[in-house]
């Protein structure tokens, strides 16, 4: 298939997916108990007057029939207008534009770190003895089982309080992002390493690895030329999920490390029933997921063109 048709198809599929996400969230929000007008007026505690509520309904088109609202909503989305935050009374797009870079930075760095850790763990485990293997499994499983918030707290104690090496909160500097990113990365790396090691082991024991040895390749060469690629594939496959998981993790990590970002905004938005904000963040997460999937598939296509074209495997 031509690369452009391929890309166009993927982008088309992504657009449909976004539309579906938007619809699901629209429906979900209609079902959330409570009066959206009340949320706009500052929550149920505000006891806003009936006129004020009516005005809010008017302003946010909450009086229209549901289909009209849906149409308005989609129309706005199509033009990139995510609406106005109930709580902050600012355009959601503006709020997100402020928050998104921080979260993206955090998740991307975390992803890279997770990949590195996973890779090193897998490499060490794959080359060690049976006991080493078992230890490796246990370490990976434990890493994958650590809750973010606990890990974050422990890292702060160790690296900020005891050792004083790294700042506990975001300082806007490079050091400031290390602990949050590592917190996010470690559980992820546990998952990735488990996957990687299995395929790494398979690859290192495969006939083609033997063939490489038979033509004089050293263990290192076998590892980098063959093992690495094969280990990377399944982990790469998991990256879409990993990004989604990191965004989940970011909710907690941003809270622990007092970092601004989508995660914290989301928590606030959910607590204050700020539905435009929730919608915006959900759509953006879905968008990020899809962009990542697209990138992942492109990389995969690069590593393994046959699979991408659907040839025999």
């Amino acid at each position: 298939m031509h690369i452009i048709t391929w890309l166009a198809r993927r982008v088309g599929a992504a657009a449909i997916l976004l539309w579906l996400v938007a619809t699901v969230i629209f429906i979900a929000i209609r079902f959330i108990p409570g009066d959206p007008a009340e949320a706009i007026m500052g929550g149920p505690g505000s006891q806003a007057s009936a006129e004020a509520l009516e005005a809010a309904r008017e302003q946010y088109h909450l009086n229209e029939p549901i289909l009209v609202q849906y149409g308005l909503y989609l129309g706005k989305l199509a033009t990139g207008d995510l609406g106005t935050s109930y709580a902050q009374h600012r355009p959601v797009a503006q709020v997100m534009a402020e928050m998104l870079p921080a979260t993206l930075q955090l998740t991307l760095i975390a992803l890279v770190i997770a990949w590195l850790i996973a890779f090193v763990m897998a490499a060490i485990a794959a080359r060690s003895s049976r006991i080493g293997q078992a230890m490796g499994t246990i370490i990976e499983v434990i890493a994958a089982a650590i809750p973010h918030f606990w890990l974050g707290a422990m890292l702060i104690i160790i690296f900020s309080t005891w050792l004083g090496w790294l700042p506990a909160v975001d300082t806007g500097t490079v050091q400031g992002i290390i602990l949050p990113a590592v917190t996010l990365a470690i559980p992820l790396s546990g998952f990735l390493a488990q996957l990687m090691r299995d395929s790494l082991l398979t690859a290192m024991n495969s006939p083609f690895a033997l063939a490489a040895r038979a033509r004089g390749a050293s263990e290192g060469q076998v590892f980098f030329r063959h093992g690495f690629r094969h280990a990377a594939l399944p982990a790469l496959n998991l990256t879409g999920w990993a990004v989604a998981a990191s965004i989940s993790g970011a909710v907690v990590v941003e809270e622990v490390f007092a970092r601004p970002g989508l995660g914290r905004s989301l928590l606030g938005a959910v607590l204050s029933r700020d539905m435009p904000m929730v919608t915006g963040i959900a759509l953006f997460s879905a968008l990020i997921y899809m962009v990542v999937m697209l990138v992942v598939e492109t990389i995969e296509a690069f590593i393994n063109p046959a699979a991408a074209r659907g040839d025999d495997q």
Partner: protein
């Protein structure tokens, strides 16, 4: 698994089971009894895990919390798995168009991060134990559903199934003889793997103040309250945290060994 491995796994499962079903056998005290005068005691013989800010014995709370945390993990996984099985079966057997519609739907849900979905669900229900279960269950369902669908599809298209077809077995018999038993093993593996993650997700919700409310000795909630005293009473955070990690990791290891055995 080696013999020692099996033994250790057995002991682990037994301990967890006892802690969940008969916590008083392991820790006779009450997990809720406060003793302000004994607050913040560091681990000692009397209080192996120390005491918390209200002088409650953390060991007792951790043991009694097993049921709560595990119930959340089990219930959430059960819920997620239940939905996933239904969807998985529908997608695996229904006509192609239904399959692709549901598949799209699952992809949509999959594209929304778990915690985000859980938070949205909690926006419906308000915080609490049951909402946390529902939230975690619903938000993990799409992932399971995809796995189960793939598994079922593979089975249905397998030569094993073909062989039964050629022998003239009816669909129902094929399902009963091959599909259900082979899927159960996979489900068991998934469930054990899922419980650990569900416990973690639920504790994350507790941490955010959206899960089980205090003073119930749910581990996530204990952690959430312990983190305030992180600099002063590390034992309040370390032990419930270890409990979560142990159970989650233990369940994963168990799940892995189940998967191993069934392949």
């Amino acid at each position: 698994m080696t013999r020692t491995g099996k033994f250790l796994a057995g002991v682990f499962v037994a301990l967890i089971a006892v802690a969940a079903l008969f916590p008083s056998l392991l820790a006779p005290g009450s997990p809720l009894a406060v003793h302000p005068a004994e607050a913040f005691e560091s681990p000692s013989l009397r209080h192996p895990f120390g005491t918390d800010e209200s002088g409650r014995d953390i060991y007792t709370r951790v043991v009694h919390g097993t049921a709560d945390s595990l119930t959340i993990g089990l219930a959430a996984t059960g819920l997620g798995m239940g939905i996933a099985v239904v969807l998985g079966i529908i997608t695996a057997f229904a006509p192609r168009w239904i399959d692709s519609v549901i598949l799209r739907g699952l992809e949509v849900l999959y594209a929304i991060p778990t915690l985000l979905m859980a938070l949205i669900i909690i926006a419906f229900t308000g915080p609490g134990t049951t909402p946390a279960i529902i939230a975690v269950g619903l938000s993990t369902a799409p992932g399971y559903a995809r796995l189960i669908r793939t598994h079922l599809r593979t089975l249905v298209n397998s030569e094993m199934f073909d062989a039964a077809t050629v022998l003239g077995h009816s669909t129902w018999r094929k399902v009963r003889n091959h599909l259900v038993p082979n899927t159960l093993t996979t489900l068991l593996a998934l469930v054990t793997l899922g419980i650990g993650q569900a416990v973690i997700w639920a504790s994350a919700l507790s941490f955010l103040g959206l899960g089980t409310p205090p003073p119930a000795p749910e581990w996530g909630a204990m952690l959430a309250s312990g983190r305030t005293y992180l600099h002063f009473a590390w034992w309040m955070t370390v032990f419930p945290g270890l409990a979560i990690v142990t159970v989650a990791a233990g369940a994963t290891l168990l799940g892995r060994s189940v998967t191993r055995r069934s392949t």
